[in-house]
């Protein structure tokens, strides 16, 4: 996927860059239940960060706060320096989001779904057409342009959603459990595509998952458990700090739970 074709690259920072995403003492409650408790971390531009946590850890709440679906009641969230509460427009323009639940309109075609998203980002028709065709070709789905979304497989739908999230050329991509419910091949393809984006285009990624095998040695790992930040660092640091032998063990020690499950179809 080449999301940079024709884009205006404004900055290649020499000095410490503004973090792609920065959370400062963020808390969020649903009535009496605390979903996030004083969470702080930062992701530097060009990093692939894995937000690791079991179901109920607070990952989706965190995504809802970062994407401004919920207001940040306590603490501060900044996307490339833009406070999501004070400058939501500036922050959201830099964000591409793939939600855990499918968000394609099943009755519309792939092109119509993508065009709708492009319009919501103020991209004109000609430019939209050009970007859609180029991006779909890059994932070998150019021939599905005029097919209804409901005719796509789960993996194809997810890939279209990722293309959609990239259509407005964001600098930070958020993916919430993007591979849930997909077969092993689709998972591997999607993960490889996203890693390629980080490598080749320098895009920053926050990848939320509960699947430990999706973590790579070079990734930044952020561990959430019951709304609390348990660790934030590189894989090696995390293993060393917990005295574990593997990342899976480290995660289990940090959260006091059994090692996270491997995906279906894997021993």
């Amino acid at each position: 996927m080449n999301i940079n074709a024709g884009r205006n690259v404004a900055a290649r920072h020499e000095t410490p860059p503004v973090p792609a995403l920065e959370l400062m003492s963020v808390s969020h409650s649903y009535a009496a239940r605390k979903a996030l408790d004083n969470v702080s971390f930062a992701i530097q531009p060009g990093r692939f960060a894995v937000l690791l946590g079991l179901n109920g850890a607070g990952k989706t709440t965190l995504f809802s706060l970062v994407s401004h679906l919920f207001a940040t009641g306590s603490g501060e969230i900044r996307v490339f320096g833009y406070d999501i509460s004070r400058k939501p427009g500036d922050a959201l323009r830099r964000l591409g989001i793939v939600f855990q639940a499918r968000t394609l309109d099943l009755d519309l075609t792939v092109r119509q779904n993508l065009s709708y998203h492009a319009a919501l980002h103020g991209i004109g028709a000609r430019e939209t057409r050009r970007r859609i065709e180029a991006l779909l070709e890059s994932i070998d789905m150019g021939d599905r342009l005029n097919d209804k979304a409901r005719s796509l497989s789960g993996g194809q739908m997810r890939r279209v959603e990722i293309i959609r999230a990239l259509l407005h050329r964001p600098s930070l991509l958020l993916l919430d459990e993007a591979t849930v419910g997909l077969d092993v091949n689709s998972r591997a393809t999607i993960l490889a595509d996203i890693r390629k984006l980080v490598q080749e285009e320098g895009i920053s990624v926050l990848w939320a998952t509960h699947l430990i095998d999706e973590v790579n040695d070079a990734d930044q790992v952020i561990v959430l458990d019951k709304g609390r930040l348990m660790a934030d660092g590189g894989v090696a640091n995390l293993i060393e700090a917990t005295g574990a032998g593997t990342i899976s063990e480290a995660f289990a020690r940090l959260t006091g739970s059994p090692p996270p499950p491997l995906p279906e179809g894997q021993p």
Binding site: A35, Q44, R47, F63, L69, S85, R93, I97, A119, L120
Partner: protein, 288 residues
């Protein structure tokens, strides 16, 4: 634990501020999407027409003799009951369409499609107004198709009336669409929508001047008459009724405009993440 700086170079896209053209692109995108959804739901189009046509062909024909209408403004002569209820039926289309939009917003929220809209970088109020305009545009088409069929049923208004009702229908559609939008923010699940039918649509429709003139209501029940006067739908119907004859009913215009602002303001506040009702409903659609 902290991590060392990562060596991978990165690119940050420079963004220009959104101008008028961008806003229009966004509005057009929302209009097109609502239009496509409407075209994809042919049964919705048919049912939106069948409902008022049944009232016109069956109810009005049956009640023509029972519910005589005296000469009241804007009419200058006795009119058939079919003619009297036509503005009310136009209002009925707008009312059902407004609630249908609300239903579709609840459905979109449940299915997750709503998030696509809400994470757009355009201001939330603009997105909601665009969605509202799209819903009104669809309902206006329904009204004019209904009026075209009614014309063959010999329910005719002066030609100027068909032009004059356009702004009246637009404003009434905005008010009812905004009400639907506001209500959608308070409904968590699609199943709860049946309550809207029982507690909003039917009372609004029947406790208004859509089916019978207010003087007749007053004769029958002074209390119901007062309720009708408090019902904004009454004023929407009267605004359309007078517009059919090239007249502006100023009180109705003022009331409809005021309620449009109130309902729309309520909807914008309800969908505001920092103040709205959505946040209180824990509507993440995810695990937690």
């Amino acid at each position: 634990m902290t991590d060392a700086a990562h060596p991978i170079p990165h690119a940050i896209t420079e963004h220009k501020r959104f101008g008028f053209t961008h806003y229009m692109i966004c509005l057009k995108g929302i209009l097109v999407r609502e239009g496509l959804r409407y075209l994809n739901q042919r049964e919705r189009f048919i049912s939106s027409l069948v409902r008022p046509l049944l009232w016109l062909f069956i109810f009005a024909a049956g009640f023509r003799q029972v519910l005589g209408v005296s000469i009241i403004p804007p009419y200058q002569t006795y009119v058939l009951y079919e003619v009297y209820i036509t503005p009310g039926l136009c209002g009925m289309i707008l009312l059902f369409s407004g609630m249908q939009s609300s239903l579709s917003m609840v459905y979109d929220r449940e299915m997750g499609n709503m998030r696509t809209l809400l994470v757009s970088p355009f201001p939330r109020w603009f997105l909601l107004v665009s969605k509202l305009l799209a819903g009104v545009a669809v309902s206006l088409i329904q009204v004019y198709v209904f009026l075209a069929i009614a014309w063959f049923w010999d329910v005719k208004a002066p030609f100027i009336g068909y032009l004059m009702i356009l702004p009246a229908l637009f404003l009434a559609g905005l008010m009812l669409g905004a009400l639907g939008m506001f209500l959608s923010s308070m409904i968590k699940q699609l199943e709860n929508f049946a309550g809207i039918m029982n507690f909003v649509i039917f009372p609004m429709y029947f406790a208004s001047s859509a089916l019978y003139p207010l003087w007749r209501v007053q004769e029958a029940s002074p209390l119901l008459y007062k309720i009708c006067l408090l019902n904004p739908f009454t004023y929407a119907v009267e605004l359309v009724r007078f517009a059919f004859y090239g007249q502006i009913e100023w009180t109705s215009l003022a009331v409809v405009a005021a309620f449009t602002l109130i309902f729309l303001g309520g909807a914008i506040i309800a969908y505001d993440p920092s103040r709205g009702l959505i946040i209180r409903k824990q509507d993440t659609g995810g695990n937690s």
